[in-house]
C-alpha cells in the first residue's frame, strides 16, 4: 500500500522510535485501560449474579432474538469499518464516507435497539435501576457499553462530515484507523457481554 499517497514514514512527525504512529499506540493503551474498566463492570455483574432479592431475573426479561440481531449488526459494522479504512487508504474518499456512514448507522441501530430494550424491560417487565441488584448491574454495564457505541457513532459521523467537505484523504488514514481500533474494541466487548450476560444461563 506504500504507493497510495501514504506519507513516507521518515517524514511523518507522528511516527516514533518504535515505527508506530503515536496516536495508534495511544489508542492501544487506552483500550488496555478500557479492558480494566469493562472488566470491573463485568466482574460486578458476575459477583451479583443470582443475588437479587426481588424482581424479575435475567431470563424472565431477555429478548434473545432481538439482542442477537443487535449483536449481528455490531459485528457486521466491524466489516464495514475495515472496508472504510481500505477505501480511504486507496484514496477513494466517497466510498470511505459511504462505508463509515454504514458503520455509524449500524451502530446507531444497535443503540436504538438498546433504548427499546431498556424501555420494554422497564415498562413491561418492571425492571428498573432500583428494582434489584440485577437491574442495577445490568443497566450500568450495558448502558456504559451503549455509551461507548454512542461515542463511536458521533466520532464516525464527524469523520464523515469531514470527508463530505473534502477535508479527509488518504493522508489521514490513521485517523480512521484509530477510530476503527476503538470501534472493533467496542464490538469485542459486546461479544463478551452478550456471551456472559445474555447467553450463559
Amino acid at each position: 500500500m506504500a504507493d497510495h499517497a501514504v506519507p513516507h514514514a521518515a517524514h511523518d512527525p507522528n511516527i516514533g522510535t518504535t515505527g508506530l504512529d503515536h496516536r495508534k499506540m495511544g489508542m492501544w493503551i487506552f483500550l488496555g485501560s478500557d479492558c480494566m474498566f469493562f472488566g470491573s463492570l463485568i466482574g460486578t455483574y458476575l459477583a451479583y449474579k443470582g443475588k437479587s432479592l426481588s424482581g424479575p431475573g435475567p431470563h424472565d426479561v431477555f429478548n434473545i432474538p432481538l439482542t442477537s440481531y443487535s449483536a449481528a449488526l455490531l459485528l457486521a459494522s466491524s466489516l464495514t469499518m475495515v472496508l472504510a479504512l481500505a477505501a480511504l487508504q486507496h484514496n477513494r474518499v466517497k466510498a470511505a464516507a459511504g462505508w463509515l456512514t454504514a458503520t455509524a448507522l449500524m451502530g446507531l441501530h444497535f443503540v436504538l435497539n438498546q433504548v427499546y430494550e431498556f424501555w420494554s424491560f422497564a415498562v413491561h417487565e418492571g425492571l428498573k435501576l432500583s428494582t434489584s441488584l440485577f437491574g442495577s448491574s445490568f443497566y450500568v454495564l450495558t448502558g456504559f457499553h451503549g455509551a461507548h457505541v454512542t461515542g463511536g457513532v458521533i466520532w464516525l459521523l464527524l469523520i464523515v462530515s469531514l470527508a463530505l467537505r473534502g477535508k479527509i484523504d488518504a493522508r489521514d488514514y490513521t485517523k480512521v484507523e484509530v477510530a476503527g481500533l476503538y470501534w472493533h474494541f467496542v464490538d469485542i466487548v459486546w461479544i463478551a457481554i452478550f456471551t456472559v450476560i445474555y447467553l450463559i444461563p
Binding site: 516514533g16 485501560s33 460486578t44 437491574g135
Partner: protein, 618 residues
C-alpha cells in the same frame, strides 16, 4: 510567525502577555513547573490539615476541633496528599524530565499534556471548594461503603469527594497514555529500552499502573454515584448488595496506587545515587526488572488491606504470600542502592542526603509492612496507629524524601540556579528528625491500642506522652518546610548560577543548558550506551575514549526545529468537563450543556492540527 515566536519565551511573553502564555502553554517544561508548584501548594494545605489534627491530639480530651471537623481533616489530608500532592509532584518530574532524559523535544501529545494539568487543577480546586461550602468530605480517604451511602451521608460532602476523584482520575489516565507513548515512541536514536535511565523505567511502570488501576476506582466511584443519585443498589446491604464490592474495587486500584506513589521516588533515588557516588547504578538491569516485578505483583496483593473482613483462610494465605513476595524485588533494589554507594567517591550533597534518608526510612516502612503481611499480626495492627506509622514511613519517609531528593537534584536544571546547600541540609535534618519524632512513637501508640481516626481520647489510657511527642515532631517537620521555602525565595534572587552540568551528571538532561531552551536539544543526541553523557565525558575506562565536544549547532539546524505553538483549547476543554461533571450535584441541564460544550471543544481540539504542514509538529 507563531512557530518562530514559540522559540523564544521572552519574545513570546511580550507578544502575548505572561499570564496568557502560561494559560496556553504546551511546553512540557512549563507544564512540569505548573504541576510542581500547584502540587506544593496542595502539599502545604494537606500539611496544615495534619498540623491541626496533631494539635487536637496533643492532649487528651482536647476540644480544638469537633469530631465532625476531625473526620473532614483526616479525609481531606489523606485525599490531598495522595492525589493532589505526591502524584502531581511525581507528574512534575515526569513532565519536566522524561523528554529531557530520553532526548526528545517534547512529549508525544503536548496539548493533551496541558489538558491533563488543567483537569488536575480543576479537580483539586473542586475537591477543596468543599471547605468553602462547609461540606468537606468526611468518609475517610478510602470512603468505605456503605458509610458513603445516601442514607448515612446525605450531604454533598461525599459528592465532592466522589466527583473530585473522578475528575482527577481522568487527568491521571490522560497523562498515563501520553507518557507511555512518549517513553516508548519519542526516544532519541540509539536509546534502546535497556539504555533508558532507571527513572524513565520507573516512570514507565508507574504509567502502566496508572492506566490499568484507575479504571477500577472509576467503576467503584461510578457505582457509588449511581447509588447516590439514580437509586441503584450496589452497596446497599438491605437489597443484597455487598459493601465489600467497594473494598475490592477500591483496593484493586488502591494497592497499585501505593506503587504509583513510590516508584517515581525509587526512580529518582536511582539517578541521584550514581551521580553522587560517581559510579554506575549497581545492577541497573536488575533494578529495572525489580521495578517491573513490583508493578506486576502490585495487582495481586490488594486484599491484604482487607484481612479483617474475614475472607477465609485460602484467600488470606494467598494474599499474605503475595504480599511477602513483593518485598523481595523491593529488597533487591535497596541492596542495589547500597551497593551503588559501596566504594564510590561520594559527594554529600543535599540531594544525596534525601536519597539516603529515603533508603533508611523506606526500609523501616517496608519492614513494618512485612509485619502486617501476616494476617494474624495484621488483625492486631489494623486500624491502629501502627498502620498510620507504617504508611507514613513509606509515603513520607519514602515518596516525599525521594521527591525532595529529586527537587534538590533537578532544581538547577529547572531554574538555572542552585539551591543553597547549607539551608538544604538544615531542611534535611529538621525533616529527618521531625519525621521520626512524629511517626516513630505512633508505632508504640498503635501497639498499645490507639485506634486510627479518633478525634480525642481519655487521659488514663497511657497515650498522652507519645501523642504530645508526635505533635511536637509535626511542628519540626513544618519548620523544615519553612526553611525550604526560604531557600527557594533566597536562591531565586541570589542563588549561584548552575550552568548546564552542576553535578557532573550521567544522563542526557545535563548535556543541555539550564534552564533548557524551549526545544530542549538543538541537535537530537545519538545514544550509544547507558549513562551515555558520562561515558562521553570520561570514556568507559576500558579503552573507550572520551568523545570531544560536539560540533557547534548551526543556524540552519536551529531554523529547522519546529515546536508546537500555544493552544487555548486544553484549558477550555478542562473547564467544560468540570461544568459537566459538577452538574451532577446541581442540575441535569448543566450536565447536558457541559456535555455538549465538552463535545464541541473536543472537536475543536482535534481539528486544531487536523492537517499540519509536512514536517511540522503534532
Amino acid at each position: 510567525m507563531a512557530t518562530q515566536a514559540a522559540f523564544m519565551p521572552g519574545a513570546q511573553a511580550k507578544e502575548q502577555g505572561v499570564l496568557w502564555s502560561w494559560l496556553t502553554t504546551v511546553d512540557h517544561k512549563r507544564i512540569g513547573i505548573l504541576y510542581g508548584s500547584t502540587a506544593f501548594i496542595f502539599f502545604l494545605i494537606g500539611g496544615i490539615e495534619a498540623l491541626i489534627m496533631r494539635l487536637q491530639l496533643a492532649r487528651p480530651d482536647n476540644t480544638l476541633v469537633s469530631a465532625q471537623t476531625f473526620n473532614e481533616l483526616f479525609t481531606m489530608h489523606g485525599t490531598t496528599m495522595v492525589f493532589l500532592a505526591i502524584m502531581p509532584m511525581s507528574a512534575a518530574f515526569f513532565n519536566f524530565m522524561i523528554p529531557l532524559m530520553i532526548g526528545a523535544r517534547d512529549v508525544a501529545f503536548p496539548r493533551l499534556n496541558a489538558l491533563s494539568y488543567w483537569i488536575f487543577l480543576s479537580g483539586g480546586l473542586f475537591l477543596n471548594a468543599s471547605w468553602l461550602f462547609g461540606m468537606a468530605p468526611d468518609g475517610g480517604w478510602f470512603g468505605y461503603a456503605n458509610l458513603t451511602s445516601a442514607q448515612f451521608s446525605p450531604a454533598h460532602s461525599i459528592d465532592f469527594w466522589m466527583l473530585g476523584l473522578q475528575i482527577l482520575g481522568v487527568s491521571s489516565m490522560l497523562a498515563g497514555f501520553n507518557f507511555i507513548v512518549t517513553i516508548l515512541n519519542m526516544r532519541a536514536p540509539g536509546m534502546t529500552l535497556m539504555r533508558m535511565p532507571v527513572f524513565i523505567w520507573m516512570s514507565l511502570v508507574t504509567q502502566f499502573l496508572l492506566v490499568l488501576a484507575f479504571p477500577a476506582i472509576t467503576v467503584a466511584l461510578i457505582l457509588l454515584m449511581f447509588d447516590r443519585f439514580f437509586g441503584t443498589l450496589f452497596y446497599l446491604p438491605s437489597a443484597g448488595g455487598d459493601p465489600l464490592l467497594w473494598q475490592h474495587l477500591f483496593w484493586i486500584f488502591g494497592h497499585p496506587e501505593v506503587y504509583i506513589l513510590i516508584l517515581p521516588a525509587m526512580g529518582i533515588v536511582s539517578e541521584v545515587l550514581p551521580t553522587f557516588a560517581r559510579k554506575p547504578l549497581f545492577g541497573a538491569p536488575v533494578v529495572i526488572y525489580s521495578g517491573i516485578m513490583i508493578g506486576f505483583f502490585g495487582f495481586g496483593v490488594w486484599s491484604h488491606h482487607m484481612f479483617s473482613v474475614g475472607m477465609g483462610p485460602v484467600a488470606d494465605s494467598a494474599f499474605s504470600i503475595a504480599t511477602m513476595l513483593i518485598a523481595v524485588p523491593t529488597g533487591v533494589k535497596i541492596l542495589n542502592w547500597i551497593s551503588t554507594l559501596w566504594g564510590g567517591s561520594i559527594r554529600f550533597s543535599t540531594a544525596l542526603y534525601f536519597s539516603l534518608g529515603f533508603i533508611a526510612m523506606f526500609t523501616m516502612g517496608g519492614l513494618s509492612g512485612v509485619m502486617h503481611a501476616s494476617p494474624p499480626v495484621d488483625l492486631q495492627q489494623t486500624d491502629t496507629y501502627f498502620v498510620v506509622a507504617h504508611f507514613h514511613y513509606v509515603l513520607f519517609g519514602g515518596s516525599i524524601f525521594g521527591l525532595f531528593s529529586g527537587a534538590y537534584y533537578w532544581w538547577p536544571k529547572i531554574t538555572g540556579r542552585l539551591l543553597d546547600e547549607g539551608l538544604g541540609k538544615l531542611h534535611f535534618w529538621l525533616m529527618m528528625i521531625g519525621f521520626n519524632v512524629t511517626f516513630f512513637p505512633q508505632h508504640f501508640l498503635g501497639l498499645i491500642g490507639m485506634p486510627r481516626r479518633i478525634y480525642t481520647y481519655a487521659p488514663d489510657l497511657g497515650w498522652n506522652f507519645w501523642n504530645m511527642v508526635s505533635t511536637i515532631g509535626a511542628f519540626v517537620i513544618a519548620l523544615s518546610f519553612v526553611v525550604f521555602i526560604y531557600n527557594v525565595i533566597k536562591t531565586t534572587r541570589t542563588g549561584q548560577v548552575a550552568g548546564p552540568d552542576p553535578w557532573d551528571g550521567r544522563t542526557l538532561e545535563w548535556s543541555i543548558p539550564s534552564p533548557p531552551p524551549v526545544y530542549n536539544f538543538a541537535r537530537v543526541p545519538t545514544v550509544h550506551e547507558r549513562d551515555d553523557f558520562w561515558l562521553g565525558k570520561y570514556g568507559d575506562g576500558h579503552g573507550g575514549k572520551p568523545r570531544g565536544a560536539p560540533a557547534p549547532v548551526t543556524a540552519a539546524e536551529l531554523a529547522a526545529i519546529h515546536m508546537p505553538p500555544p493552544s487555548y483549547w486544553p484549558i477550555l476543554l478542562a473547564i467544560a468537563l468540570s461544568i459537566m461533571v459538577t452538574g451532577i450535584m446541581i442540575s441535569a441541564y448543566q450536565i447536558i450543556v457541559g456535555g455538549l460544550l465538552t463535545l464541541f471543544l473536543m472537536y475543536k481540539f482535534a481539528m486544531e492540527y487536523h492537517r499540519p504542514p509536512e514536517g511540522h509538529g503534532h
